[in-house]
């Protein structure tokens, strides 16, 4: 049957709604983007212009000296390097361990399935607490170690449940076929299930990478040595260290005012990789939230 190509006429109400919706969304975009654009403008402006309050959306006294000095600054680049290492290592390990946890839990015929599942879900609601966790890490000699930063965030129950739900969707017939061909359960997992699970794997890579990139709390708890800090924690100390000191007046009094342009430059550099990558992977971010949903 041929398509008639009839175009549905938009009602006046719908046109008004479309315009209204567009204007509202533009305002929301502007309000959301403004602080970031202001930050970028500050990072390219001179210190004097910032002090005089002249900087708004466009840089005043444009210069790249701040970027040069920050990028040359040993501490910042060292922290940047640390973040890359932690993110890559953490993501890979997180993925491996999460898969190893999620796949067996996707098999209802697993002995103790119900108990194990409840045990995993229990950890979503209850934890050991800050001090016991710190003592545990200390007794395991993981303070000031890379493992001390990575291990506490290695397994997320939420992500495991997402993966478990996805693995449960894998057609059983394929696994049976593999079994018939003589594959062991690990072989079935690696050679059949994992290749079919690229969407969830990609999503988990994204979630974990962003999580480790932005993580400062583990550094705050377990990394005392400045040379091990990730850039998120380094930035936190630069920006908020003075104002959260025990005696705030004493701290801000002693402080040589850390230039606003250095702070904004550091923030832009930290956010830049994620901003650059995100447009290409945003669809996975949205899809990933729905991947674990029940379909059958």
């Amino acid at each position: 049957m041929e398509k008639t190509g009839v175009k549905v006429k938009e009602t006046n109400g719908y046109i008004v709604f479309k315009w209204f919706n567009t204007i509202i969304m533009l305002i929301v975009c502007a309000v959301t983007l403004y602080p970031f654009l202001y930050l970028v403008a500050q990072s390219f402006s001179s210190e004097e212009a910032i002090t005089l309050g002249k900087v708004n959306l466009l840089p005043i006294g444009f210069n790249v000296e701040t970027y040069k000095s920050v990028l040359v600054k040993g501490e910042f680049m060292h922290a940047y390097k640390n973040t890359l290492v932690y993110s890559v290592l953490g993501t890979i390990l997180s993925l491996v361990f999460s898969c190893c946890m999620a796949y067996p839990l996707s098999k209802k015929e697993l002995k103790g399935y119900k108990v194990l599942t409840k045990f995993v879900i229990f950890t979503m609601y209850f934890g050991g607490g800050l001090i016991p966790n710190y003592v545990l890490m200390m007794k395991l000699h993981l303070i000031n170690r890379i493992a001390g930063f990575i291990i506490p965030s290695l397994l997320s129950t939420y992500y495991i449940i997402l993966m478990k739900s996805f693995f449960a969707e894998t057609p059983h017939e394929l696994e049976e076929a593999g079994e018939l061909d003589g594959l062991s359960p690990i072989g079935i997992f690696i050679r059949i299930v994992l290749p079919l699970s690229m969407p969830i794997i990609a999503t988990m890579v994204l979630f974990n990478a962003v999580g480790y990139w932005n993580n400062w709390y583990n550094a705050f708890l377990y990394l005392d040595k400045k040379e091990m800090w990730p850039v998120a924690y380094y930035l936190k100390t630069v920006i908020s260290g003075a104002s959260t000191s025990a005696d705030p007046g004493e701290a801000t009094a002693e402080k040589m005012q850390i230039a606003a342009n250095i702070k904004s430059c550091s923030m832009v550099l930290m956010a830049l990789p994620i901003i650059c990558i995100y447009p290409f992977i945003s669809k996975y971010y949205v899809e990933g939230m729905m991947l674990g949903g029940v379909k059958e």
Partner: protein
């Protein structure tokens, strides 16, 4: 059988409970009979260990003068080791997180032996993680000499716990030093017809208000600002004011016998002692408080003080003052040189700043009354690991490091001849002076860009290792301008008597804290609403009082008086 098993389990649980709740270890030792073997010590004698020894110590690392390797290889830590043969094993925490990290370390049993830069030790007492240092002060000749010489007994009583002991060795000042005050643009005030140097002799916050009205009128007439602009935007009241009104309300509050701003922290709802009635009361619901907020509100109401002062970041206030948009701002001893330089860098040398002895209220009291400041704790871990004799050795090292003149000078200025030398001041007095080629941000001693900052390079004059001391030592780095300021404090202001302190038990402290936390939040919220004009001081006063009474202010006062009477 089931019954027997149940009883057995119950007995086992009770045994575990009793063991767990057996209370903290009692501090051993208090006898003065320990002999010094293997080290020298004494009042104004250098501590020196015959054999090298290592003590762990915490360090609050401020990012604006971050610890460098040179501090250990050729700076302050090397100097201490050379003199005493004590190697300091330093655990460094960022200054913003120092309190939390120390808390974590003490509670997890991994604290360093020596924990400096502690402002409040109350939270650590019950846990048994720190030693009752008052049991060991008899081994500390420098500490004891200072206490006796300057009659610090009543001041130390304010930090004793309910067991009569104190758990922090405080920095002790011979006299309280007022750090914070108000700075004005003298050139603009004079152009407007106000001689600030005369005014400050007997001015009040009310008279400052009238002066600022006149200054603003002048500025508007000269096109320096619009009628809708504010000429006062302050710092240390917003972000760093912690929602309490910060420094400004602390200064104003002291003038009206009210604990407000930063001063309300730890006060259980503004509790003060009435010396006439000999009882505690809440200054936050008194008529003095009403007077305070009325005066503070008058600045906002009449378009002088920007209400955003109480929410903004400190940088905003600095930027406005440096760029000439405002003409009055808070400052302090460490910051004033930077503020003056900041203004002149942008506005030129004609922009003159004057650091005032800030106004008075119903009294002329300075906000600072305590002669104590942050201090040192010693962890229980040190006593457990070192044993009695070596622990006493550690205590004597701490005594030298924090209470001897030699260590004070070393940590503050560096070794004589390396960074400083004696000089003769204009009045003929012998003073310490940095050698050419050196400057120090920590002491407010500026220099050329090429000069070596002794704090940045070698760690001298940092905030961790020198506290208090005699007035002569505390002021030895003061520039003539700062010395003049303190001379004016002496002439125009007074120092209030320190309130006595009620010493609650652990349970009482917990109860007071449970009541005080929501009460203080309520007081702070209402204070800012009154000051910024969101609430009417007269119309809404009764509602405010009711809200405080509903939050147990009367119970706090009653319990505090009860505790104090039983002491």
């Amino acid at each position: 059988m089931k019954k027997i098993a149940t009883i057995a389990v119950a007995i086992a649980c009770a045994a575990v409970l009793l063991t767990a709740c057996s209370g903290k270890k009692t501090a051993k030792g208090g006898a003065a009979s320990a002999e010094a073997v293997g080290y020298t010590f004494g009042e104004e004698k250098t501590f020196h260990s015959d054999n090298p020894v290592t003590y762990s110590i915490s360090f609050s690392d401020a990012s604006w003068y971050a610890m460098q390797d040179t501090w250990k290889t050729e700076g302050v830590f090397k100097d201490i080791e050379d003199v005493t043969n004590v190697h300091l094993d330093i655990t460094s925490y960022d200054s913003g997180d120092y309190g939390q990290k120390v808390n974590l370390a003490i509670n997890s049993g991994s604290a360093t032996y020596i924990i400096p830069k502690i402002y409040s030790e109350d939270q650590y007492v019950a846990g048994g993680g720190v030693v009752a240092v008052s049991d060991y002060t008899q081994y500390m000749p420098n500490f004891t000499a200072f206490v006796n010489k300057y009659n610090m007994g009543p001041d130390l009583d304010t930090i004793r716990q309910s067991d009569g002991k104190f758990y922090r060795l405080p920095g002790m000042h011979q006299a309280a030093l007022q750090d914070y005050t108000i700075m004005v643009r003298e050139d603009i005030f004079e152009a407007a017809g106000y001689k600030i140097r005369e005014l400050e002799k007997d001015w009040t916050w009310e008279s400052l208000h009238d002066v600022l009205v006149g200054v603003k009128k002048y500025m508007v007439s000269q096109g320096m600002c619009k009628e809708s602009d504010y000429i006062w935007s302050d710092l240390w009241c917003g972000e760093s004011g912690k929602g309490q009104g910060g420094n400004l309300l602390k200064l104003m509050g002291a003038s009206y016998n009210v604990l407000s701003g930063w001063a309300i922290e730890g006060s259980n709802g503004g509790i003060k002692y009435d010396w006439k009635k000999k009882e505690f009361y809440s200054s936050s619901i008194s008529d003095d408080f009403k007077k305070l907020v009325t005066v503070a509100n008058s600045f906002v109401k009449d378009g002088l003080l920007d209400p955003e002062t109480f929410t903004q970041a400190d940088d905003v206030a600095h930027n406005k003052f440096y760029s000439g948009k405002t003409v009055i701002m808070s400052t302090n001893r460490s910051q004033m040189a930077n503020d003056i330089a900041g203004v002149q860098k942008i506005l030129g040398d004609s922009a003159k700043c004057y650091v005032t002895a800030y106004p008075s209220g119903t009294n002329k009291n300075l906000a600072e009354t305590s002669r104590l400041e942050c201090g040192v704790m010693i962890s229980q871990k040190a006593l457990d690991e070192l044993g009695q004799a070596d622990f006493i050795k550690l205590v004597r090292f701490v005594d030298w490091m924090f209470y001897s003149k030699e260590a004070y000078s070393l940590c503050k200025w560096g070794p004589e001849g390396k960074t400083w030398e004696w000089s003769t001041a204009a009045n003929g007095a012998k003073v310490k002076k940095l050698k050419p080629g050196f400057k120090c941000g920590g002491l407010g001693l500026p220099g050329a860009d090429t000069d070596v900052d002794i704090r940045l390079k070698w760690g001298y004059a940092g905030g961790n290792y020198f506290y208090g001391h005699s007035t002569e030592e505390s002021t030895d780095a003061f520039t003539p301008e700062v010395q003049d300021l303190y001379a004016r404090y002496g002439k125009y202001k007074t120092v209030a008597t320190v309130d006595p302190k009620a010493k609650p038990t652990e349970d009482q402290r917990e109860q007071l804290n449970l009541w005080a936390v929501p009460l203080i939040d309520n007081i702070n919220a209402w204070t800012l609403k009154f000051v910024t004009g969101q609430k009417d001081i007269n119309k809404d006063w009764d509602e405010y009082i009711s809200s405080c009474k509903n939050l147990n202010v009367d119970k706090i006062v009653a319990l505090t008086n009860e505790i104090y009477k039983k002491q």
